[in-house]
């Protein structure tokens, strides 16, 4: 590839993926609980996205596609973190308790206790605002399965939860 077309390809890639770097980094941080590892995973995901961009047939799917790559990188980091025991991310550890924040801290503790997979699906839905279909695409599951996971995760947080409370 000569310099000019290569530069154009880079610019197109940056325009497509650039807006997703921060959501990707935040997703990685929510999964790994460590900024350095989250940046590594995101950077590796960018490299992989570049190499496999030709396989992305529908550009409207770029968000779940890229986040799926990030999630996969995080999974690999956790799988290959052989040099230390897998630790529960400290990111949910509450600060100093205060009377007025008891409920908030309860929820944070409950979030911390959720299985990682449940926490991830809540993060995608309620923080990154991914649609159910996008979550399904990112996780390689059906929309119905994604809904089921969101439902179960919410119920685990709030056993008495009613639909209108959400």
């Amino acid at each position: 590839m000569t310099a000019e077309p290569a530069r154009e390809a880079e610019q197109e890639f940056e325009a497509l993926i650039g807006p997703l770097v921060e959501p990707g980094l935040r997703l990685a941080f929510s999964m790994l609980g460590n900024r350095s590892e989250a940046e590594d995973a995101t950077q590796d995901a960018i490299t992989k996205a570049w190499r496999s961009l030709s396989r992305l047939r529908d550009r409207s799917q770029v968000r779940p596609w890229f986040l799926a790559i990030v999630a996969n990188q995080c999974r690999n980091v956790r799988r290959t973190r052989w040099f230390s025991t897998v630790r529960i991310p400290l990111v949910f550890q509450p600060g100093k308790p205060a009377e007025s924040h008891v409920e908030r801290l309860d929820l944070e503790r409950e979030l911390e206790k959720l299985p990682m997979a449940d926490r991830q699906v809540l993060f995608m839905r309620f923080y990154l605002d991914l649609s159910v279909d996008e979550i399904g695409t990112a996780l390689g599951i059906s929309g119905a399965a994604a809904k089921g996971r969101i439902y179960r995760a919410c119920k685990r947080l709030r056993p008495g939860l009613l639909e209108e409370d959400i």
Binding site: N72, R78, R125, V132, C154, K155, L157
Partner: protein, 397 residues
């Protein structure tokens, strides 16, 4: 404050610990692009570590040789090697039509393994599963990315994963989906479609409605699809994709709504669409019969059925506790998870049989992201566990 607001607030506080990210976009993009032609840092690390290990091995061997030549007076202790799981190497040696339970290989997530429902034969099926996939009930085909593949990895058909949510039929040869009838940025009715793999979709009926894609997570979804039973069950979820606003039992051949119901917290249906289990959101479930009559009320929430619809998979508190298998007609619990604190994760019904495979979250295995490793119990209609797999990550329908 709704739970949504609470959850978002919790994640906001978590993300605050990430610190300033303003510079990250440009830096990570540049570094990511710079690394595209080079060997990744992790590979460089691995190469470095390998070099060190090789050096240590050489030195160790040298020392051992010297030790053998000059016996030491003080015997050294023998290090205990811990078992290291390796991916399954043998190919799954069964006919292409033999139903199997598919799962991610415990040692290589990208690899798809399968085990027959009697637990006697297992092996490697293929690769390319890093981003998940949706297998049919027989485990003979699976939808991944935008392709439908067979066990050999051959692409049989493609689909649009954003607009078409694949829900496999009970015979495994076709799938149901509800698609938008207008562009994604507009509200529109849903269209239930039945698609035989490799053929064009057939419109069955208008059912439910979609809001603009940016609006929320609601919209209709399929929970049963049975060309043989001539039924599909579709439900309309609430605003965040949670809860059941209404459900419809639709005749696939005519598009006619046979009966409809709602409202509830969670819905499951038997594979032929004859029975519907609707949890009310407060820990109880109603089982409805083929015509919509209430047949039974159960404690707990129902998440799945055996193939013949006689057994249900139930659990408490959104699946967080006490996964069990229940004969719903007499209310008898035929199997309970050995540890009631294990959470329910997923279940599959044996094609052509009566067993249920139920995956439960075992805290012994570290979570690895959006995919959870589970203990998988394969349980017969008599409640006896025929076999168990540990630390496997399932695909989900």
């Amino acid at each position: 404050m709704t739970l949504r607001d609470d959850i978002r607030g919790g994640f906001d506080r978590q993300q605050a610990k990430l610190g300033e990210v303003g510079d990250a976009r440009h830096r990570l993009m540049q570094d990511g692009l710079a690394a595209r032609e080079s060997v990744s840092r992790r590979v460089q690390w691995a190469a470095g570590i390998a070099a060190v290990l090789i050096a240590a091995l050489v030195i160790g061997t040298f020392a051992l040789v010297r030790g053998n030549i000059h016996p030491q007076t003080v015997p050294g202790t023998t290090p205990k090697a811990s078992a290291s799981p390796t991916p399954l190497q043998n190919a799954l040696n069964v006919s292409d039509s033999t139903p199997v339970i598919v799962y991610h290989d415990p040692a290589n997530f990208d690899q798809v393994d399968g085990v027959t429902w009697d637990g006697k034969t297992s092996g490697r099926i293929g690769t390319g599963a890093a981003n998940g996939g949706i297998p049919n009930p027989q485990g003979t085909l699976y939808a991944a990315s935008n392709e439908i593949r067979d066990r050999h990895g051959a692409v049989l058909a493609t689909f649009d994963p954003i607009n078409v949510g694949v829900f496999w039929s009970d015979d495994g040869r076709s799938y149901c989906s509800v698609v938008r009838t207008a562009s994604r940025d507009m509200s529109s009715p849903g269209e239930l479609q039945l698609t035989e793999v490799g053929k064009s979709p057939r419109n069955v009926a208008r059912v439910g409605s979609f809001k603009p894609a940016s609006h929320d997570g609601g919209g209709p979804s399929v929970v049963a699809c049975s060309p043989g039973g001539d039924r599909a069950v579709v439900y309309q979820s609430g605003g965040q994709g949670i809860g059941v606003m209404q459900f419809w039992v639709v005749q696939l051949s005519s598009g006619r709504t046979l009966w409809t119901g709602g409202v509830g917290g969670y819905i499951a249906a038997s594979h032929d669409g004859r029975y519907v289990a609707l949890a009310d959101g407060s820990g109880h479930t109603v089982i409805y019969g083929p015509g919509g009559a209430v047949l039974k009320r159960l404690e707990g929430e129902v998440f799945g059925f055996s193939l013949d619809g006689a057994l249900v998979v139930a659990a408490q508190i959104g699946g967080a506790q006490s996964p069990s298998i229940v004969n719903w007609s007499d209310g008898q619990t035929i199997w309970t998870c050995p540890d009631s604190t294990f959470g329910y994760w997923g279940s599959f019904a044996e094609p052509g049989g009566s067993q249920i495979a139920i995956g439960v979250l075992d805290p012994a295995y570290p979570q690895t992201g959006g995919f959870a490793p589970v203990d998988l119990f394969v349980v017969g209609a008599d409640g006896i566990v025929s076999f168990e797999l540990k630390d496997v990550t399932l695909f989900s329908q």
